[in-house]
Amino acid sequence: MDTTTRHIKYQADCDPTFAPAIKAIPGCEKLDSCIQCGTCSGICPLSIYMDMPPRRIMNLVRYGFKREVMNSNTVWLCSACYACTVECPRQIKVTDVMYALKQMAIKERLYPKRFPMVVLANQFYKMVRHRGRMNEIHLVTRLYLLTNWFKLLEMARLGIELIRRGRFSVKPDNIERRAELHAILDYEKRYPPTEAAPK
C-alpha cells in the first residue's frame, strides 16, 4: 500500500491569501455567497471534461485550496460561454472567477507545460500587442509549432480548403496608430498600481 496518499487537509495546506486575491478582481466579489448548489456545473457544457466541477472550484477558492485549484484542468476548459454566470442563483460571475484564476495561473506560471490554452492566450496577447489585430492563421500556426507541431499536418486538409475558398489571409494586418495602442497597454507599467495615478 505504498501508493496510499494522505487526503486529509490541514489548515496549513490552505493559502489564506488566495481567496482575497481572487475576490479583489472585478466580478469575483460575490464568491463567498455561493451555496454550492451545482447550477454552474450542471449548466456548463464543458463540465463533461472537467476533473472538478466548477462548483467545487468555487468552494476550493473561497477556502484557500490554491494548489488543488491550480492542479485542476477545470479553469483551462472554460471557454467563457457565460452560462454559469447567467444561471447562478447567487449571481456570482463564475466566468470572471475562471478568468481571474487563469490570470493568476499565467502570472505565477502555475500551469501544465506547453499547455495549449496558455500558449494560445500568450501568443494571442503578444500578437495583438504587436500588430493591434489578430491573424488567425499566424496564431494557429504558432500555437501548433509551440505545442504539438505534427498537428499542423492534421490541419493541412482544413488549411487547403481555406486557401481554396479564399479564407486564408496570409498577410498580417496592422493597425496604423500602434504607438497609441502601446500607450494604453503600458499604462500600468508607467504607473504601477501602488503609486497614485495622475489625474
Binding site: S79, A80, C81, M117, V128, L162, L185
Partner: protein, 297 residues
C-alpha cells in the same frame, strides 16, 4: 431615412470570416443601412486577453469604444458575437467598477483618447430584426425559403451574459427572422449552447464533441440548415464536419450558414456575392433542393 451605424468588423472578418463580412455588407446595403467603418480599429481582445490581464483586456477593447465615441453615430455594431460581448462587457465594467473604469479612462487619456460613455454596443441581429424590422425584411424577400427547416443557433456570446433584445434561455429572434424569410424554424434545444469557441484550436476533441452534439441534434430535430450569428460558431460548425464524422463515427453533415447569407438568398442575391462559396458545407445543391424547388412548388 437611411439608418447609419458605426461598424466594427473584427479580426476574423479578415480571414476565415470573410463570408460573414461580405454577406453582411451586401444585405445591409440592400436594406439601405449604412455601415460607417470604425477607422483604425484594433482587436477586441477576445477571451484570450482576459485570461492574461484584466486591465489590459479592458483597456484594449476600450480603445475601440473611445474611437467610436468620436463618431457621429454612437451606436457601434459588429457582426461577431465575441466582439459584441467583449465591447459590451468592457463598457459595463467601466461603469459597474469605477475603480477599473477610472484607470482605463486614465490610460486612454494618456494616449490622447477620450471616452465619454455615450457609445452603445449593438448586435447586428438586433439591428436587422428590431431597427430595420421584419416587415421591411419581408418586403425584400424575393425567394421565400419554403423548404428550409432551420435550426437557429445563437451560440453563447450573443445571448450571454448580456442580452437586451430577447430572452436569454430560449431566444426567438432568429426563429422570427427565419419565418419572415419564409423558412420554418425547428425546436432547437441547443440553440444557446456553446460550440467550444477557441477550444477548437487548443483542445479539438473537446470542442468537436460540443459541435457533434449540436450538429446531431439539429438533424434529429429535422432541420436541413443551421443558422448561426457568429463567425466563430459558424467556422466551428461548418469546417469540422469531416473531422467530427471521423471522430464519432456518425454522419452529422448539415448545411450551415451565417444568418446574413440566408437573408441574402431570400432576397434573391447571388450566392457568390454572399460568399456562400466560401462555406465548407456549401455545394449549391442546397439552394436547388430547398429554395428553388420550393419556390416553384
Amino acid at each position: 431615412m437611411t439608418k447609419r451605424y458605426t461598424y466594427f468588423p473584427g479580426c476574423s472578418i479578415l480571414g476565415t470570416g470573410r463570408a460573414c463580412e461580405e454577406s453582411t455588407r451586401a444585405v445591409f446595403a440592400e436594406l439601405g443601412v449604412e455601415l460607417d467603418d470604425l477607422e483604425d480599429w484594433n482587436c477586441c481582445g477576445a477571451t484570450a486577453y482576459m485570461s492574461v490581464d484584466e486591465h489590459k483586456a479592458l483597456a484594449l477593447a476600450a480603445r475601440n469604444l473611445a474611437l467610436a465615441d468620436t463618431k457621429e453615430c454612437p451606436e457601434l455594431t459588429t457582426p461577431c458575437s465575441g466582439c459584441y460581448l467583449v465591447l459590451n462587457k468592457t463598457q459595463r465594467y467601466m461603469e459597474e467598477y469605477p475603480r477599473v473604469g477610472d484607470k482605463v479612462k486614465c490610460a486612454l487619456k494618456d494616449a490622447g483618447l477620450n471616452y465619454t460613455g455615450r457609445v452603445r454596443v449593438r448586435h447586428m441581429l438586433d439591428i436587422l430584426v428590431h431597427d430595420v424590422g421584419l416587415d421591411e425584411v419581408r418586403k425584400h424577400v424575393k425567394r421565400p425559403l419554403k423548404n428550409a427547416k432551420i435550426a437557429p443557433y445563437y451560440g453563447c456570446q450573443t445571448v450571454r451574459p448580456y442580452l437586451d433584445f430577447d430572452h436569454q434561455h430560449y431566444p426567438m429572434t432568429i426563429d422570427r427572422l427565419a419565418e419572415a424569410l419564409g423558412a420554418t424554424p425547428v425546436h432547437f434545444p441547443l440553440k444557446t449552447r456553446c460550440c467550444g469557441g477557441s477550444q477548437m484550436g487548443t483542445l479539438p476533441n473537446v470542442a468537436q464533441r460540443l459541435c457533434y452534439a449540436i450538429l446531431r441534434e439539429a438533424r434529429r430535430q429535422g432541420a436541413n440548415l443551421i443558422l448561426s450569428v457568429c463567425p466563430l460558431c459558424h467556422f466551428n460548425l461548418d469546417s469540422y464536419q469531416p473531422d467530427i464524422r471521423r471522430r464519432f463515427g456518425e454522419d452529422v453533415s448539415i448545411t450551415t450558414m451565417y444568418y446574413t447569407q440566408l437573408v441574402g438568398l431570400a432576397f434573391g442575391m447571388d450566392p457568390e456575392t454572399l460568399g456562400l462559396h466560401r462555406n465548407m458545407t456549401w455545394d449549391g445543391s442546397w439552394l436547388e433542393r430547398e429554395v428553388l424547388a420550393g419556390a416553384t412548388a
